[in-house]
Symmetry: C2
Subunit: 248 residues, 2 copies
């Protein structure tokens, strides 16, 4: 198998109301079965998910946590408003978002935005992915998969990796249940999180900082499926041993 | 940026003593800066890291845990012998290995091996990677990076992904500290775990089961560095909030 992965170069700075699908299609010719990975930050900006810190009034809880972290209480307030559960308060804020996604700072970001502003995650990243996929189909007739990516830390290991926070047109996992290996044994690895494996590599291609590029095309994997299945990657909270340990 | 990722096809079944570098070089022409990802299972087989279950005598602890899991006590014994700390005993065994790598079943695997046998992880995966890298340099004069991959579950999310369990010729992370974003803000994301982002995508390309291929080449990333730096990706155990929560 041979796969090509390339960045969508020379994208402009994104502002509220920008048509991301159009901006991407002006720069690359997509083909059927391409996977388009887009950084959540530009999706959020196009959707106006930007707040001025000066317009945020911190709650008592935001003040309390901000003192533990030596952090701007308005930033903490924005994090709390995006969260449904706080798992760790310090030395960083690890939260569960309403869609079940667990991440630091609820994904609220101060990078790649003017000082004094913050970028929230898209309100419903899979809905954003579905809209972009539809726009591409309407414009070009091409059936592509869309993955919205974000950068996340993880347990046990140093460094952040890209993860999928919303998808359209691709299954979340590839199911190996019942398949047999080279020797006829039933496989014990049953479910591969393909959207995260793709998001991680796309994240590496995107880079960070002022040389970064917010969109990447993966060509040759042929994983297109006409589904919106992102939620399947969120582990049931009652079955998550690590979530339970953090709640103790 | 444009990257090519391709599988090393038609690899034979691997046995103890096989020269993996030679088998790969017979099938692909490597170039400077290529990244070669190899599944830990074939590295382990080439190194004779295979045990017969019939030759394992379970300890009392292996019997105790095996009853909770309805598992073969000889398999559990092999897992315990590969581990220095048990973090979760059931419904699955999550351990810390002597090199700090945290994984289910200590990476001991019953897939892709004859019934009655198990595959351990390579004894020192980064040393394995360094040997393969040296062999390639000696044979071809090419400077490549080598990543040994394994498949791992993770907290909060469904599905396994590929991770690096040993490397040679590549840094573990890409450091963004002090870099500025498009707007001149110092980046808050400081460290990207590039070896895991690469290992994940390589894992997807490898597949599982009898159609799987154990080696993948990533061409175009230019991340070669003459270092053996795998250990840098293992988080200091005293700083790991989730490890601490599991130990409570």
């Amino acid at each position: 198998m041979r796969v090509e992965v390339f960045t969508v170069d020379d994208m402009p700075r994104i502002n509220e109301g920008d048509d991301l699908a159009r901006l991407i299609l002006e720069r690359v010719r997509l083909e059927d079965n391409d996977i388009l990975a887009i950084a959540s930050s530009v999706v959020a900006k196009a959707e106006g998910r930007v707040r001025n810190l000066s317009e945020i009034t911190p709650s008592a809880e935001a003040y309390r946590i901000s003192r533990k972290l030596d952090e701007d209480p308005r930033f903490v307030e924005a994090v709390l408003e995006e969260s449904c559960e706080i798992l760790i308060e310090s030395p960083f804020i690890l939260v569960r978002r309403p869609d079940g996604h667990v991440c630091v700072n609820a994904g609220v970001d101060r990078s790649n935005i003017e000082e004094g502003k913050i970028i929230l995650l898209p309100r419903d990243p899979s809905a954003s992915a579905a809209r972009i996929r539809s726009r591409i189909y309407e414009s070009t007739g091409r059936r592509v998969s869309v993955i919205i990516t974000d950068t996340n830390g993880r347990a046990f290991r140093v460094g952040q990796t890209g993860l999928a926070i919303g998808t359209s047109g691709i299954s979340s996992t590839r199911n190996w249940v019942g398949l047999r290996d080279l020797f006829g044994n039933v496989l014990t690895i049953t479910n591969e999180a393909i959207i995260d494996e793709i998001a991680g590599f796309a994240n590496l291609m995107m880079g960070e900082g002022d040389g970064g590029t917010p969109a990447v095309v993966i060509r040759g994997l042929s994983l297109f499926e006409d589904v919106d299945a992102f939620h399947e990657i969120i582990r049931d909270e009652h079955e998550d041993m690590i979530l339970r340990a953090l709640r103790r």
